[in-house]
Structure formats: structure tokens, C-alpha cells
């Protein structure tokens, strides 16, 4: 008997942004992301409330992955930030904070959504054009012949993630390792098309961070007992490799639908094993030295192989398959039938390696762009955070080699950009006004909201009640203690700007960022001398920040444009 139930009518909320509840949850979310931002950001403990592992983090990727938000507006926001992070790894918090700030500030202006969106897009294009132009005052070119900027970049990424729990020495060590790992992924032969290799992060939890290391080639983890039992390599020349992606465990999991009926005299297991041994005979006659299998190899088959002096390594795992096939030049073999001779590849050498409590099989390829980063940290929480951070740093390096610029970090880009936009809008008529699409007042009003939003991102770097200043020459970010005693001794009170490019002894004048300051033209040309020197700069990835800016403005536009939320309650 079936029963029909009347469908509930859908619920329709108009003007969702005006609701108290939405504003409240949006401000909670903003509070969370703002408090995470920067090197002094506060950490969050994410857990299910039922025991089990606790994730301590301040990274947007880990944070948003675990956040489950209820309201569609928040979902729009978190999803677009997550999309940005999945493509660019970095600048996720920047994007989220900027987006929240924009929504908040624009709402206060009281302008209609259509004009807001138009103006926001216009201001965004001003920003991106400026950041792409050669006169940009907050962009540094990257000298590919030196590691200085690269190291600064990695350093900046590492210091901005306090949950990694690294000391200064450890940050230096890990920075060097990441750079080394990155360099190992660049092919030596320079053709037109450079394809970067891959760095595989191998976990080694519980050890000291200083014990982390980078090795060319691949590490396959295996139990110590098994490692001891492996035959010593007899050949000095390269070893012939066969790589299987099919299970060699001797089972018959692929019978498809239905039931197979077997006579009691037939042993299916023996039949499959015979097939495996046939395969083994072919491997022997093809003079293969090393058999690698993604899944399990039947013990009897292993015994057969080792009797014929073939090294067999199983349970390599799916993550290593692609790099393995790349470094050895093999085509993964997917059937137990006969093997095409072209499927075989080769490796230069292999040797056992022991790190901490783990033992590995170290595969050294002839020439390849794959390396292994053995990453250690004291506990699981910090290790997970460090792993994410290293992946971000490696990703950011890849973007930087493609587009060799970096942006000044430590809040300087945001304040500089805000100063640039403010100055531009106040001095001279913009095309958009000339076209009659909006009035000069509307543009100024919204530009102020936009600049404030940018500046608020920079202010979010401060978590201990300090004051944020900006200088009237470069428009950089300066940090000062709260309630500075007197305005006169600022050069003594301040040390360096956020990115570290300028110091306070350069005869600058400052104003508090929150106060209404009259627009000034920030200096656009960069001093060349300090960039090349050993000074420790804080820099951000150009590509990631540009995308973050774009995503933040576009998401804010989308959210501001929402007029109805229709909820299906069935």
C-alpha cells in the first residue's frame, strides 16, 4: 500500500542579505577567516565533537573543507573560495576576507546592486590592469638566475602558517628543501615545451623536522623484514622494469554479474596461479629484473620470481603509479595475458633506505623529474598542516616560474593598491563616468568602499591590538603598537614595512590606516637596490593573488545580486 503525501510548498525569501540571521552567520564566518589570517593568525581546532582526530589549522583549504555551512549565501562564498584554492593553493583567506569585506562595505553605501556590480567590475579591471602593468609599484620581477626571491616566496608561505609549529631554523631548512625539490622537478633538457615533474611527499611522522630530506627518484615504503629479504642487486647496468597496475594476487574478482559454476575437480585458484606462473616465465625470458605491482603479488608468484633473481615489489599504491610509470618509462600492464615488449622500462639503480622508523626501497631513475620529499613533523596535526603548506609552496613556485613576478606581501600590496585606486578615482575622470553609466559621486562612494575592503584585509594581519599605519610615499603597510605615545617619534617606533622593502629611516610620513586620509599618489617605480640584496622580503604569488582578487570581487557581486532564495522543503 502506498501513501501519497502532499508536497510542501517551497519557501521563498526575498532580499536574503537584509536578514539578521544571514548577516549574523556571515559575520561569524568572517570572524573565523579574519582571525586565521597571517603569520600571527589564530588557529582553529576542527573536530567532530565525538572524539577522533582533531585538525588544528589556519589554512583556508583545511578550514573550508571541514566547514559545513547551512545558508546558501555562505555556500556560494565557501565554494568559490574552495574552487580558487583548488586551482591556486594560495591566497584563499585573502579571497574570503576580501569578499566578506566587500559585501559588508557595499551594503553600507546603499547603492543599487546593478550599479554596484558595474562599478565593482570597473574597479577590479583598474586593479588587474595596474597589477599587470610595468609601472606597478607593488610587483617585483623575479630573477630566474637567483634563488633569492624564490626563497623569500617559500619563506613567506611557511611563515604564514603558524600551525606548522616550525622554529626559525626549521623554516630555513624546509624552505631550502622545498626549493631543492622544486628544482629537481625541472627537466634538464630545455626544449620548447617544458613539462615540470612531480614532488611526492612521503610522510615520516613523529621525527624531528630537521630530519626531513629530499631525494631524487622515488621511495616505496615497505616493512623492514621484507626489505632485508630482498635480493641484492647483481647487475651494474640499468635494470629492466615491468610495472603492473592489475592485481597479481591470484584472485578472480572480475567474474562480472551472476554466478560461476565450477566442477569440484577444478581448482580455480590453481588455474589463476598457473596463469600467473606463465606470465612469470615470460618475464624471465624477457630478462626483466624488477617487477613492480600496484596491488598484491601472490606469494607463490613472488617465490617464483625471486627464484629467478627477479626483484618483486608489491603494494606500491595508486599514488605512486603515475610517477613510477614516468620515471621508468614503462606502460602499466593491465592484464595477465602476454606482455608487449614495449611496456618495459628501466631504472638506473635501486637500494634500501632507512629513515627514522620506516624503511623504503629507493628507486633511482636514469633521468627524470620526479623527487621525493620526506617530510617529518612532531605530531600528526602539525604534519598535516606542514604537508598542505609544502604543497602550496611547490604550487606557488610553479606559477612563479610561469609568470615571473611576485607581489609585495605583508599587507603592502593591499594598502598600495587601495592608495592607487583612491588617487586615480579622485584625480581625473574615469571612462565609466564619461560614458554616463554612473555619476562621479557614485564612483567615489563605491571606490571608497572597495579601498576600505582592501585595507581591511591588510588590517586583518594584526591580531594583538596594534595599530596599522600607511606611509604617504609608497602606500605600504606599517605596524605599530596601539596608542603610540607621540606622533613625532614614529621612525623610532616603526622598523620596517610589512614586506620588508622599506625601513622607517627613509624620511616618510605616516597616517593611521583607519582615519580618512586625503588621496595621494603612491610611488610607482620600485627602488632596484634593496630588491637584489639579501634583505628578507615577504612576497606573495602574483598569479594566485590576482585570481583571488578576481574571485573575491566576482563572488561578492554574485552574492549582492541575489534577490531571492528559494528553498525546496520536501
Amino acid at each position: 500500500m502506498s501513501r501519497l503525501e502532499a508536497k510542501k510548498p517551497s519557501l521563498c525569501n526575498s532580499e536574503p542579505l537584509t536578514s539578521e540571521l544571514v548577516r549574523g552567520t556571515l559575520s561569524v564566518l568572517k570572524g573565523i577567516v579574519v582571525s586565521c589570517y597571517g603569520p600571527a593568525g589564530r588557529l582553529k581546532q576542527l573536530h567532530s565533537g565525538l572524539g577522533g582526530c582533531v585538525c588544528t589549522t589556519s589554512q583556508s583549504s583545511a578550514l573550508l573543507r571541514n566547514l559545513s555551512v547551512s545558508h546558501p549565501i555562505l555556500k556560494v562564498l565557501t565554494t568559490s573560495v574552495q574552487n580558487h584554492v583548488s586551482c591556486f593553493s594560495d591566497c584563499g583567506l585573502f579571497t574570503a576576507i576580501l569578499c566578506c569585506n566587500l559585501i559588508e562595505n557595499v551594503q553600507r553605501t546603499g547603492l543599487t546592486p546593478s550599479i554596484v556590480i558595474k562599478l565593482n567590475n570597473y574597479l577590479l579591471s583598474l586593479c588587474t590592469n595596474y597589477l599587470k602593468s610595468d609601472t606597478c609599484g607593488c610587483r617585483l620581477p623575479v630573477d630566474l638566475s637567483s634563488t633569492h626571491i624564490f626563497l623569500c616566496l617559500v619563506h613567506s608561505v611557511l611563515t604564514s602558517k603558524p600551525a606548522c609549529m616550525l622554529s626559525k631554523k626549521e623554516i630555513d631548512h624546509i624552505s631550502a628543501l622545498i626549493l631543492k625539490a622544486f628544482l629537481l622537478t625541472i627537466p634538464e633538457s630545455t626544449e620548447d615545451h617544458v613539462i615540470l615533474g612531480k614532488t611526492i611527499i612521503v610522510p615520516l611522522k613523529g621525527q624531528r623536522v630537521i630530519d626531513s630530506t629530499v631525494l631524487p627518484g622515488l621511495l616505496i615504503e615497505m616493512p623492514e623484514v621484507q626489505l632485508r629479504r630482498l635480493l641484492p642487486v647483481q647487475k651494474s647496468s640499468t635494470l629492466k622494469v615491468a610495472l603492473f597496475c592489475v592485481s597479481l594476487s591470484g584472485d578472480f574478482s572480475d567474474c562480472g554479474e551472476g554466478t560461476v559454476i565450477v566442477s569440484s575437480q577444478v581448482s580455480l585458484e590453481n588455474a589463476v596461479l598457473d596463469q600467473l606462473l606463465n606470465l612469470g616465465r615470460q618475464l624471465v625470458s624477457d630478462h626483466v629484473d624488477l617487477v613492480l605491482c600496484q596491488k598484491v603479488i601472490h606469494p607463490s608468484f613472488k617465490q617464483f620470481l625471486s627464484a629467478h633473481h627477479i626483484i618483486a615489489i608489491d603494494r606500491v599504491g595508486v599514488t605512486l603509479m603515475e610517477p613510477l610509470s614516468k620515471v621508468t618509462g614503462t606502460t602499466p600492464i593491465g592484464s595477465l595475458g602476454s606482455i608487449c615488449p614495449t611496456s618495459y622500462g628501466s631504472v638506473k639503480d635501486l637500494c634500501p633506505a632507512r629513515f627514522g622508523s620506516k624503511s623504503f626501497f629507493h628507486l633511482i631513475p636514469n633521468e627524470a623529474t620526479v623527487c621525493s620529499l620526506l617530510l617529518c613533523n612532531r605530531n600528526d596535526t602539525a604534519w598535516e598542516e606542514l604537508k598542505l603548506t609544502c604543497q602550496t609552496a611547490l604550487h606557488v613556485l610553479q606559477f612563479t616560474i610561469k609568470e615571473p613576478w611576485v607581489l609585495l606581501g605583508g599587507g603592502c600590496t593591499e594598502t598600495h593598491l587601495a592608495a592607487y585606486i583612491r588617487h586615480r578615482v579622485h584625480n581625473g575622470t574615469e571612462d565609466i563616468v564619461r560614458g554616463g553609466e554612473c555619476s562621479q559621486t557614485e564612483l567615489r562612494l563605491l571606490a571608497e568602499a572597495f579601498c576600505r575592503a582592501l585595507e581591511s584585509v591588510a588590517t586583518s594581519l594584526e591580531h594583538d591590538g596594534g595599530e596599522i599605519l600607511t606611509d604617504m610615499k609608497h602606500g605600504h603597510f606599517w605596524s605599530a603598537p596601539a596608542h603610540p605615545p607621540s606622533v613625532l617619534n614614529w621612525p623610532e617606533l616603526l622598523s620596517r614595512c610589512g614586506c620588508g622593502l622599506h625601513n622607517s629611516q627613509e624620511e616618510l610620513s605616516w597616517s593611521v590606516l583607519r582615519s580618512t586620509c586625503h588621496p595621494f599618489a603612491p610611488q610607482t617605480c620600485l627602488p632596484q637596490a634593496p630588491v637584489g640584496s639579501a634583505s628578507n622580503l615577504t612576497v606573495d604569488c602574483w598569479t594566485a593573488k590576482l585570481s583571488g582578487l578576481r574571485v573575491a570581487v566576482e563572488t561578492a557581486n554574485l552574492i549582492l545580486d541575489l534577490s531571492f532564495v528559494i528553498e525546496d522543503r520536501n
Binding site: Q45, G51, G52, F252, V262, S264, S479, R496
Partner: protein, 709 residues
């Protein structure tokens, strides 16, 4: 999903940490008080005396509790020692950090100065490292010393069948190899190194002790070397210091103070025993036995001393007096009483062995083998099989064993009972649940290859020359069957690199504790020998940290900002310039952690009746150390005073006799690091985000301060 702000005026996370840590206070120091953990619901209770077991019984489901548990497990998994230190310092530093917050120090400054302070202390501690060199040379002397006692005490107990050609041929009583068959027992060992493991009560009462030591100096070369370090006849004047010359002898000198080397295993073991002499004696005996065995195998006497802890196993025998504990070469395991006759027969012959890595049951398939469910077996001929498939399999296994003449099967996993029975009838012994390291040891020594299935067994896989004997404790003259109707047997081969420590305890509730303690001693020795260095322990390193931090803090106070550019993650922040204002405060708070640690140890050992008294003692010596200009040399020179002050105030009139206490280097440092890391991680956390929580799931009581998204 909900989020809760945990960093209001008082930091909840830090308070939780401090309260968790308080429970482990009594496990600090050499005297550990046991605890009963009661389960009110089930009326069960367990006796525990280690921090690890304590944490296992606590409810650590809160986020901070989980992080604490994670840190402890990581320390335990990597080093197996330093857990009590870790837990205590987590608590002490949590309160210290809270104190800092109370004083208005910004979080970033606390994080930066504390980790910088710890780094600085660890660098300063290099001066208290004691290198371990050439222990192997001294081992030779000791091994000769061992032979005398070992021969006498053991021959009657090891059941060497007199009528077998094999064993007799190989183990001639004059053959040096036979010494290794011997079992070192506690009594013999204790008699040998009285000066290290003498109970403290005795020291006070026995006024003749110096004479005894003096005599031993003349009679026993082995004793002389180690005894010197503790002899009052090398009493030093204030500015003369003893150093050990390369030949191992002490010398008085006026050179700059230095930590002398530790060249003697007995001294090292005594120093690392941390009050648990009986467990350490066993661990030390295990190290000696393994090393001597290796030397014999390699036919060299100058091998460096290494200790492969993976080749050490324990076998627990509850119900026997503690003196029955001993260390044996080979593998000791329990078999059911019903195997008595089988073993009687097997022990007269060298046995061939097969090693099975998986289970030995019909249904067992190797890992990764997926059994298909869609397969039906049909009978063609219409005849029912005469035997069940289990019967067929058992027969097949037996055929293989008979073909290769295998009499002993060591299985890592479970064994089919039916098969065990069948094998027993055909004079074959099957032992299940064998440790994988033991399997590996037999593989190496008997030249066998472990296989997964019996069908894989071939001539190359079968090992030979294993001897099977009953095992009894050297003092045990009764029947070898214990109360649970199982008896212990000893399996070994000529070259086996495997040691079993038999642990006995009359109180079965203490068995677990005993085993834990043995392992922690073994691991301490293992780390010391691996690192080739130890710290001067007994509070010395903590004292140096205290005085180092005090000096640092004073330096910053006097010289102001420009002495030392501190490090903050963002070096442009205003906090960098305010670092100098807060640094002395934060360093003092960091020091307070060690101060509390020392005073807790002193209170636990009852060397000082009150925390205040302990605190005064610490303060006094730290001040003296700083006034002396060179804290590390002060600590070295006054070591006996300090260490006896920490542990045994009663012998303050007998200072020269204080033996040295050692600590592991990396495990200790890492425990500190982990403790501080955890505290700083929690400190920097401002909110707790509980995922997957719906409004209605939380009761109104808990809702306080919770925000929903």
C-alpha cells in the same frame, strides 16, 4: 556546524591541558606511586604506574585531550621514553603560558620567545653531554668476569639431554660458545655490581662500604674501572676535576671541568636505570648477551657495541618470585601441557623448521586476495567426497611436512587446531602467534625462508639445526608447567640473534607494569648506545636550563633591545620591537616549567618535605651557579650535591658516593619540544569548530558561547 570561542579572558584549552597533566604528577622521578583506576559502572579496577597507561584510562575525547594523546603517542611511538616528562611539562608550561597571558603578553611574543628560549637552552646543554666511547673494550673484561658465575649457576638448570650426540658435540662445557647458552639470572647479576644498584638505605648504614670498595679495587680488574668514578678515594678538591684518560682510568686534574666519558656499560645502565634497578639489570644483561653472541658469530672481539632492540622479546610468567626473572638466548614461548611428550622426544634431536608468515588454516588467503562469492562448486560424478575439504587440506599439509621432514612449524598467525593435533600425532610441533622478529631471527639463523602457504615449502625454505627444550627458570626446580596448564619451551639455534627476557612477578596485577618498565629501560639503553651520548641527568640538565634562562633574562634586562634581534614570523610587526619588554617575563615563565618539574621530582622522592623547601634548594643552587660565572662547570663540580639534593637528601654527608644519573639526549629534548609545541599550539588556538553539529543536537547548557553557521 558550530564554532566556540575558547580564548576568552582565561584560556580554556590551556586549563584543560594543565588539569590533564596534573594526574601524571606522581609518575615523575625514580619513585613512582601506582594508581588504581576504578570503573564505577563495571566495578573494575586496574593498577597502573606509568603515564602511558594512565592516559589510556582517561577520557581524552575533548579536542585538547585528543591533541595531548596524539603528542604522547607520537613520543611513545618514536622513543618509548620521556612520556612522564612530556606530560608534566605540558601542564607546567600551560600554567606558565596562562600566567604570561594574564600579564598581558601578546600571544605571538610568547610563542616566539618560548621556542627561542628552548632552542637556546638545548644549545647550552651540549656541555652536559657525556660521550659514550669504546664500550666494547670494557665488555671483554666483563665477559670474562661473567663466566665464573654463569657456569656454576646455570648448568644444573638448563636441561641439556646428556644422551644426544648433537648437543653434546656442540656445547662442550669448555667451549666458550657454551657461555652463551647460559642464562643470566638476577641473583648472579646483582652480586656482581653491588655498588651501582645498592639500595640507599644500605649506603647510610653500612659504614664499612668504603673498605669493601677498596678491597674490590685490588681484587677485581673489572670492578676497578667502574668503581673509580664513585670512590671517595678520588675525592676532589674544589678546583680539581677528574677526567677519564683514554685508557679508562680516572685522573685528577685542574683542567677545565668537563663531563667525563662513560665507558662502562654497567655504569651507563646504572645511570639510566632511573631507580628501577631490577628492570635495568635485565635490560643490561640482554645487551651484553646480544653483543657477546654477535662477537662470537663474527669471531671478533673488537666490534662496536650495538643493540638491536628488535631482536629482544619478553615472556611474562606471573606468579613466580621476581628473582626468577632472567634473560636467555633464543625464543621462549608457551605450549599446552599436552605437548609434553612431543617435546620430550623432539629435544633429543636437531629439528628442521618451516616458517609460515600468515595463518595456518584452510581458509586463510594472503592479504589482498579477494574471495569471490559468486562461485559455486558442483559435483559431476554424483559421488560425495569421502573427506571434508578441511581433512583434505590437513592431509596435504602433513604430506608436505613429511616430505621435507619438518618437525617444527613456526606460524606468525593463527593455527588450525585440527592440524595442530594431527601434527602432534606425527611428532611435529606447530607454534602459532610467533613474533615476526622472532620469525626473521630463525630465518637468518636456521637459513629458512618464511613462506605464506605450506604449499610453497621446498627444500630451500626449510631451516635446520633448531633445538627444542623445556625451559625453566634457573631457580625453579619444580615442574615446568605453570598454573594455566601451559609450559614454557625454549627454541634456539646455534647462531640465533634473538633474546627473550623472562619477566616474573608474584603479583599478577604488576605483570603489565613490570613489562612496561623493562621495555622503557631497554629503550633507554638502546637510545644511549645508538646516539653514543647521554646527558648528565638527575636534575643537572634542568638546573642548567634554569640558570641559563635566568642569565638570558638578565642580559636582556640590562642591555636592552639591541643585544639580540629576536625572531617573529613577521619581522615587521610592532611586536618585534616590543619583544625586549616582554622577553624577561616570558623566559621566567619558561623557566618556571623546569622549576616545577624539579620540585615535583624532589617532592615525589620525598627528599624534601614541602614544595617550598624544594623550591628554596633549587633557587639557592641556581643562584650559586649564576654567581660562579660558569653554570655548567658549577653543575659539574657540584653534581653530587645537586643530584643527591634532588633524590636523596639523607646521604648528604656521604657525597662522594653519589652515582651519576644519565638521561637520553634526543628523547629528552624531543619530549620538551613536543610539550612546548603542544602548549603553544593550544595557546594559538582561539576557537573550536565542531563539524556536523545541528542546532538541536546540543543541549542548552552546552550552548553557552557557541555560534552557529
Amino acid at each position: 556546524m558550530a564554532s566556540r570561542v575558547i580564548n576568552q579572558r582565561r584560556h580554556m584549552g590551556l586549563q584543560q591541558l594543565a588539569s590533564f597533566a596534573e594526574t601524571g604528577r606522581s609518575f615523575l622521578g625514580p619513585l613512582k606511586a601506582s594508581k588504581f583506576i576504578m570503573d564505577v559502572e563495571h566495578h573494575e579496577s586496574v593498577l597502573i604506574s606509568s603515564t602511558l597507561r594512565l592516559l589510556g584510562s582517561l577520557d581524552l575525547t575533548s579536542a585538547v585531550g585528543q591533541l595531548l594523546n596524539e603528542a604522547v603517542q607520537a613520543q611513545n611511538g618514536t622513543y618509548r621514553t620521556g612520556i612522564s616528562t612530556l606530560l608534566f611539562l605540558v601542564g607546567a608550561w600551560s600554567s606558565a603560558v596562562e600566567e604570561c597571558l594574564h600579564l598581558g603578553v601578546p600571544t605571538a611574543v610568547i610563542v616566539s620567545v618560548m621556542s627561542e628560549g628552548l632552542d637556546s637552552c638545548i644549545e647550552a646543554l651540549v656541555s652536559l653531554q657525556v660521550p659514550i666511547h669504546d664500550i666494547s673494550d670494557h665488555m671483554n673484561n666483563t665477559s670474562t668476569a661473567y663466566k665464573e658465575t654463569v657456569d656454576v649457576s646455570l648448568c644444573p638448570f638448563v636441561q641439556v639431554p646428556s644422551d644426544t650426540g648433537l648437543v653434546e658435540k656442540k656445547h662442550d662445557f669448555k667451549d666458550p660458545e657454551f657461555q652463551l647458552v647460559a642464562t643470566y639470572n638476577l641473583c648472579g647479576k646483582l652480586a656482581k655490581s653491588p655498588k651501582f644498584f645498592k639500595p640507599w638505605v644500605k649506603v647510610e648504614t653500612d659504614k664499612n662500604l668504603p673498605h669493601a670498595l677498596k678491597n674490590s679495587l685490588h681484587t677485581d680488574t673489572y670492578h676497578r674501572k667502574s668503581a673509580l668514578t664513585h670512590s671517595r678515594y678520588f675525592h676532589r678538591t674544589d678546583n680539581s676535576h677528574w677526567v677519564i684518560k683514554p685508557d679508562g682510568f680516572l685522573e685528577c686534574g685542574t683542567t677545565s671541568p668537563q663531563t667525563s666519558r662513560c665507558n662502562d656499560l654497567a655504569e651507563l645502565a646504572a645511570g639510566l636505570s632511573h631507580g628501577d634497578h631490577s628492570s635495568m639489570t635485565m635490560a643490561e644483561a640482554a645487551v651484553r648477551l646480544q653483543w657477546q653472541n654477535l662477537c662470537l658469530q663474527q669471531a671478533s672481539r673488537t666490534m662496536p657495541l650495538v643493540f638491536d632492540i628488535s631482536r629482544l622479546l619478553t615472556y611474562c610468567l606471573p606468579g613466580l618470585p621476581e628473582t626468577f626473572s632472567c634473560v636467555c638466548l633464543g625464543y621462549i614461548t608457551a605450549v599446552p601441557e599436552s605437548s609434553f611428550t612431543l617435546i620430550k622426544e623432539l629435544q633429543n634431536q636437531p629439528v628442521r623448521v618451516a616458517l609460515i608468515e600468515g595463518d595456518l588454516t584452510e581458509n586463510y588467503r594472503h592479504l589482498g586476495f579477494n574471495k569471490s562469492t559468486d562461485i559455486k562448486t558442483v559435483l559431476h560424478s554424483g559421488k560425495l567426497p569421502i573427506k571434508s575439504s578441511e581433512e583434505l587440506w590437513t592431509n596435504h599439509v602433513l604430506q608436505v611436512l613429511i616430505r621435507f621432514n619438518v618437525n617444527l612449524i613456526l606460524v606468525q598467525g593463527n593455527v588450525s587446531e585440527h592440524l595442530t593435533e594431527k601434527c602432534m600425532h606425527s611428532k611435529r610441533l606447530v607454534i602459532g602467534s610467533v613474533n615476526c622478529n622472532a620469525l626473521q631471527a630463525f630465518a637468518e639463523a636456521a637459513r629458512a625462508v618464511p613462506v605464506t602457504y605450506v604449499t610453497q615449502v621446498n627444500e630451500d625454505c626449510v631451516g635446520s639445526g633448531v633445538s627444542v627444550t623445556f625451559w625453566r627458570s634457573p631457580q625453579d626446580v619444580k615442574d615446568p608447567i605453570d598454573r594455566s596448564n601451559r609450559m614454557a619451551i625454549l627454541l634456539k639455534t646455534e647462531r640465533i640473534n634473538l633474546i627473550t627476557a623472562v619477566l616474573t612477578s608474584p603479583v599478577s596485577a604488576q605483570m603489565q607494569t613490570k613489562e612496561d618498565r623493562f621495555w622503557s629501560c631497554a629503550y633507554r639503553l638502546h637510545h644511549a648506545l645508538k646516539e653514543k651520548k647521554v646527558f648528565l641527568g638527575g636534575g643537572a640538565i634542568e638546573f642548567l636550563c634554569l640558570s641559563h634562562l635566568q642569565i638570558l633574562a638578565e642580559q636582556f634586562l640590562n642591555k636592552g633591545n639591541h643585544v639580540y634581534s629576536g625572531w617573529l614570523p613577521s619581522n615587521s610587526s610592532w611586536l618585534t620591537s616590543s619583544l625586549s619588554i616582554y622577553r624577561p617575563t616570558v623566559l621566567k615563565c619558561l623557566a618556571s616549567g623546569w622549576h616545577k618539574y624539579l620540585s615535583a621530582v624532589m617532592c615525589n622522592t620525598a627528599s624534601h618535605s614541602s614544595a617550598l623547601e624544594a623550591s628554596m634548594f633549587i633557587q639557592h643552587h641556581v643562584q650559586n651557579a649564576n654567581d660562579s660565572g660558569s653554570p655548567s662547570s658549577y653543575i659539574l663540580n657540584e653534581y653530587s650535591k645537586l643530584s643527591s639534593g634532588v633524590f636523596h637528601p639523607d646521604i648528604s654527608n656521604n657525597l662522594e658516593w653519589v652515582p651519576r644519573v644519565y638521561d637520553n639526549v634526543i628523547p629528552k629534548i624531543e619530549a620538551w619540544r613536543r610539550a612546548l609545541d603542544l602548549v603553544l599550539l593550544v595557546l594559538q588556538t582561539d576557537s573550536e569548530i565542531i563539524t556536523g553539529l545541528v542546532h538541536t543536537q546540543m543541549n542548552s547548557k552546552k550552548l553557552n558561547g557557541v555560534l552557529f553557521l
